[in-house]
Symmetry: C5
């Protein structure tokens, strides 16, 4: 798995296709789902050229491309479907923020598909580009594996609205599935926050701060991916392009609401995380206080006593106390009293 950095592209002419991002080491996979209310067809194509006829069918065609490192293939399909060179460039440069652009005969949408990668224990952040044209939707992903399996199933089994509607509803459904998945990430993060919180109040360790710090970064990633989505969905829902029908716009408003909800939750989480840092720091301070208390209590009791016994360890010849029989037990008793007074003083100060 190698990663191409953004900087390696610097200086190339605009419109040059360079794949920027991780290369997942698999061949590009192209699948086509073509349907209308009556018929349904699902194919895996080997040649990128096999997708070309689907541009002009009357049925809705969803062409999904997994893997972006084969820029030649992207360029071919891009040129056939009439995509502007800059759009092709955006598709393979996987560090885009969500955006949409309306080119009249097609609408270009970039989204971030976030999914929790169980084995990795981290959030996987993939770029998804959608092209909504007349009767077709192109979707480009960085890697095989996505959040659309339920949707595919609904198309296959003709459940829900999707087979009755056009390409715009398909594009909406793709976006909806992506936004729906954000809630899963957020619930996971919410659990993590609660877990850390509990630990913090019981027994914070050195590992707690890096964990908080990790959550903070995760929220930054999420936020970067979701904030601009708001504008994107808004632009789509209020655009004038006839490719998006009025009935679909109501559904886009629904995504808009979800996006706002996600943003709200992210901001709240960020707020709570920064409180966690405060709590952590104060727990460290409290710990220091406790350590100091132990030291101070023990020192305060024994340092004066050690002085006293030191006095009677001196070798002066003329120390009359040393010769009396009762002075030793009396001194022991006196020291006990001193020690108890100290303990009493600390008790009163509520030190233990």
């Amino acid at each position: 798995m190698t990663e191409t950095l953004r900087s390696e592209k610097s200086g190339l002419p605009p419109g040059t296709l360079v794949h920027i991002g991780e290369e997942f080491g698999k061949a590009t996979l192209v699948t086509i789902i073509d349907y209308n209310q009556e018929q349904f067809q699902e194919t895996v194509v080997n040649n990128i050229e096999d997708t070309f006829p689907f541009r002009d069918t009357q049925t809705v065609s969803w062409i999904n491309i997994d893997g972006l490192h084969d820029v030649a293939a992207i360029e071919k399909i891009g040129n056939h479907f009439g995509l502007h060179p800059l759009i092709q460039e955006d598709i393979v440069n996987t560090q885009q923020r969500p955006k949409t652009e309306d080119f009249g005969d097609y609408i270009f949408i970039i989204l971030r598909m976030l999914s929790y990668d169980e084995p990795l224990g981290a959030v996987k952040n993939e770029q998804v580009s959608l092209i909504l044209g007349k009767n077709f939707v192109l979707s480009f992903q960085e890697d095989v594996g996505d959040v659309w399996d339920n949707l595919r199933d609904r198309i296959r089994k003709n459940k829900g609205q999707v087979r009755k509607e056009g390409a715009d509803y398909l594009a909406y459904s793709l976006m909806d599935a992506i936004v729906d998945n954000y809630f899963i990430i957020l619930e996971k993060a919410g659990e993590d926050i609660e877990g850390i919180e509990e630990k913090l109040l019981l027994a914070p360790t050195r590992a707690t701060l890096p964990a908080i710090y990790g959550l903070k970064r995760e929220m930054l990633v999420l936020r970067k991916g979701v904030w601009p989505l708001r504008e994107v969905v808004n632009a789509l829902g209020h655009g004038e392009n006839p490719l998006v029908k009025a009935s679909t716009k109501i559904y886009l408003r629904d995504i808009y609401d979800h996006t706002i909800q996600v943003i709200d939750t992210i901001e709240n989480y960020r707020d709570m995380i920064s409180t966690l840092v405060d709590v952590y720091l104060s727990s460290v301070s409290n710990r220091l206080n406790e350590i100091m208390k132990v030291l101070t209590i023990l020192s305060s009791i024994f340092i004066p006593l050690t002085f006293i016994v030191g006095v009677y360890g001196m070798n002066f010849q003329h120390m009359p106390e040393l010769k009396m029989t009762w002075t030793y037990p009396a001194l022991l008793a006196f020291m006990l009293v001193v020690a108890l007074m100290m303990v009493g003083y600390f008790k009163r100060k509520k030190w233990f």
Copy 2:
């Protein structure tokens, strides 16, 4: 009481009704209050179908549904009253933020009903959905029990304006009661802040920080529920839909003012709470200082003295001082002077 998470809905087709939130384990309860200036009728219906005739009466009908887990019932009533599938979905998904949508022949409003749950010692945060139609208002709540008992009483006894006005005034009254209740929550929070403040200045304990932290979260919840309300009330008060009469809009402006007032107070509380954290941290530091002072004073007095007595505890054969009679009392006196000088030094430094 089981809770359905938002994530469990992920992947389902839009418009699928899935109840998201806690299930309070009670049957759905449907009550109808039907009135105009002259007549009044209050019924608990057993069959959701019994509510259907009230859609078309000339009297104002308030149909209140407690409990959202019976999605089939919600769907039935929703379909009969002509609600868009997405609206039905929003009603049963109880994690919505306040919003309003105007569908022409009805207006959809989502609010958060906050109430202080005395036995639980926590704020109960319920979702309320209102449908304002021509001559009817539907209200959907998560659980039995609400803040509208006073309003019901006013309708029953024909007190105030409500029996003289239409469905829009009823919807306003429902919203007004909800917003009014926010002040109770805020006053409770204000008292909590003052309580913590007092404790902080007298005797902060380990439990203080979690308490502050809890207040902070409560404010986040409140804020999340109230901020968007501002836009909602504004949209209703300036909308063009004839369902809301001009005379009612004046009342909506009043709710708007209250909402702003609530937001103002929340922001002030948040500000004060973050100050409390500072005060807490500084009180922890002060405590450490005090502990260190005790240790330092005691150590500073006794460590030099212990050294001195150690000197005369040495076993050198040629220590002339040891043989003189007056050296022992003189040393004791000298040590007293040293100790007093130390005490004087700390007094001058205002350490005690």
Copy 3:
């Protein structure tokens, strides 16, 4: 002095007059000042009904009501002067934020009158409601005593513009006096900040933080009262209602400038206060450092020496040093050298 909380009103029908706020235990006091350029008349009325004729005089009538707990009187005068029930409600609910509403034949204005209460040592925060009508101004205050004595004097003695102008100029003058008084509060706060600052750098005590905290809260109160005023004055200065003449609008712009100035100063003070907290915390840390230095210097000098004298306090039979004559003074000299080296080390480290 009893206080009615906002929550006690919750659930009552809108437009119900309930006095919310402190009750100052005095009877409601109604005074009327009626004037034009030629004539002047000042009366204290006993019956609220005595104010009624002044609604329709051609002279400018200023009817001032002190005390809001007698809601029946407020209702009577409100109804006679044609005030909307919600306005009457706002007048007696003394927790409003500044706002203005234009009802066509009268303009309603709410302000906060802040004054420094010398004996109490705190800022008194009263609500003032103004009704500007054709040829009359109603002013409602919570308590006897206000910032308008100079203005009354100017009217009595026909100084300045006020007798030459109409009711709008009177309303402006009332607002101007209130805003002018904010500067007094701010100057007082500025002195407090400087006082704390000086103390902080010289000798911070435990009482310093609560004092800073108190200032912070005072600023929050001020801010809450002044921020919305900006919009209020702006709305009045740019309104279309002929009750406010163009010549008076120039004066309103002047108040607007003053308001901005007050807001600016508040924000600066807030900034400075939060710096004070930092300075306080760092002074606490510095103090800890100083305490630790004393402890460390003393311990570092005497702990090694105590060890040395301990060595020669051992009772081994074969310690040749103990028998030599010069070893005791040599050891004393050696210990002096060790002590001086320690002192030199700390001097070089600039510890004292």
Copy 4:
């Protein structure tokens, strides 16, 4: 040098001229510079009335008044040049924020003239009011001495554009000189920040925090004076008043750019200063750590050893070790090993 506070004006009728601010104890100084492309004349006038004829000359007249405490003179000239009473009030109240007002036949501009007062070591913050009329500019300053000497020179010697242009260009030149001077203040502040930064990393002292705090306040003053300037210059540059010619507006855009640049720098400085506080606090913490390390190292080495020698200082009759010849040197060697192990432990922990 006495200062009149804003509060002393409270209660006076609007439009009353009261000088608010410091009184610099000098007589009011009035100078007139009158010029066109061909001729030039510079006069110091003794009577304020001597300025009156310049209102109507065809040449450009710059009337500069130094000192605002003589309110009678200000009133005379104000009335002759037709200034609104509120404008006259603003001129003598020296606590205004920058603003501009367009009265049709003249434009009123308030600016803050900031200059670094070398002997005082502080920023001098003077209010400057400009009146731009047809063929004349009035400028009012608090004190003698300003930033316009270069400009005067350019007028005298007919350098640059100024003699070729009208009064609007003169007003622009006055503003430009003031804004130019902000850069000097900023460069001085930039040096101060760098100086403190260096000190912080080398040897922070108790005086460092007050110095940082002073810089912070200076930035607040600057910010208060410059932020509103942006709107002022923008309003002038986009105003419709023919007193400002289109060609001058290009120059005003230039001042606008400079203002933005100043604001940018101020915000960056504020950011850097708040970082300095963090660095200072952390350096205080580091110092504490260092002190504690010294204490801990010394204590850790000698406390166990002191215990060991204490053991052999006990007076038990049956301690066989005491009688053997080799035990004393063996014990000394053992203690050396213990001490070296301790030192090794701390070395490995990188404590020194």
Copy 5:
């Protein structure tokens, strides 16, 4: 390398050309690249006058000037190409923020060219001014060396679009190369952040904070240079000047996206850096805790023991324990038990 400060220009008439910034000590270098789709010509000119004929050629002429201290040359070329004096002033004053101004027959653009200077280990921040006219582009840089070598190559070898398009596309390409380079700076900063982060969690040193502080300043510089760029690109992309063709505007939108992406990343980095400061401070606190633990553990074990041995070091004649045979080993055993209990206590408290 001498630097001229902004303050030295203060007081000069507007439009006076003074070079503000570092002088790199090299002669001004002027190069011309002139091309259309068929022909290409590249020249280094010695006389600034040699550039004059290129103003009116039909081919696209890119005149690049390196070095701004020769203000006479700048003035000559500026006057010949018809640049407003204020523009000429802006070109040589190298402390401008990005901006654009449309003068009808030419468009003026200021950008910051940031490049990582490997030997210096710092970001080099140069000002670049572009003049886009009909068929020509002037570019002014502070120093020799830029980020346009790839672009020059593309023009020479006729790669990409640039030879097929006009001067506006050339200007776009220049801007694009500059913005592309920001990503390199950001990637470098990202690596630095990760490096510091790793160090922080392993072994923070005194040098870590200055390093964090340096990154923070670097971000401030970047931010200052990039934030205003957003408006600049937006203004160009939506301007009405026919000098920028519609097809080029699509490319400008692309730069706009990149700029937003850069700003996003900067803001995220700033957020992460401020977290780093928290982590650093907490690691300092943790270190203190660890030091205190060592001290406390050792002191707590040995201080009581030292007291005990001190007791039996006393010289009382009547201490029966001293005479018994078994007391010495018993005492040693007892002290061992005490020590082990202490260790057990600390183990249970998880102190080590």
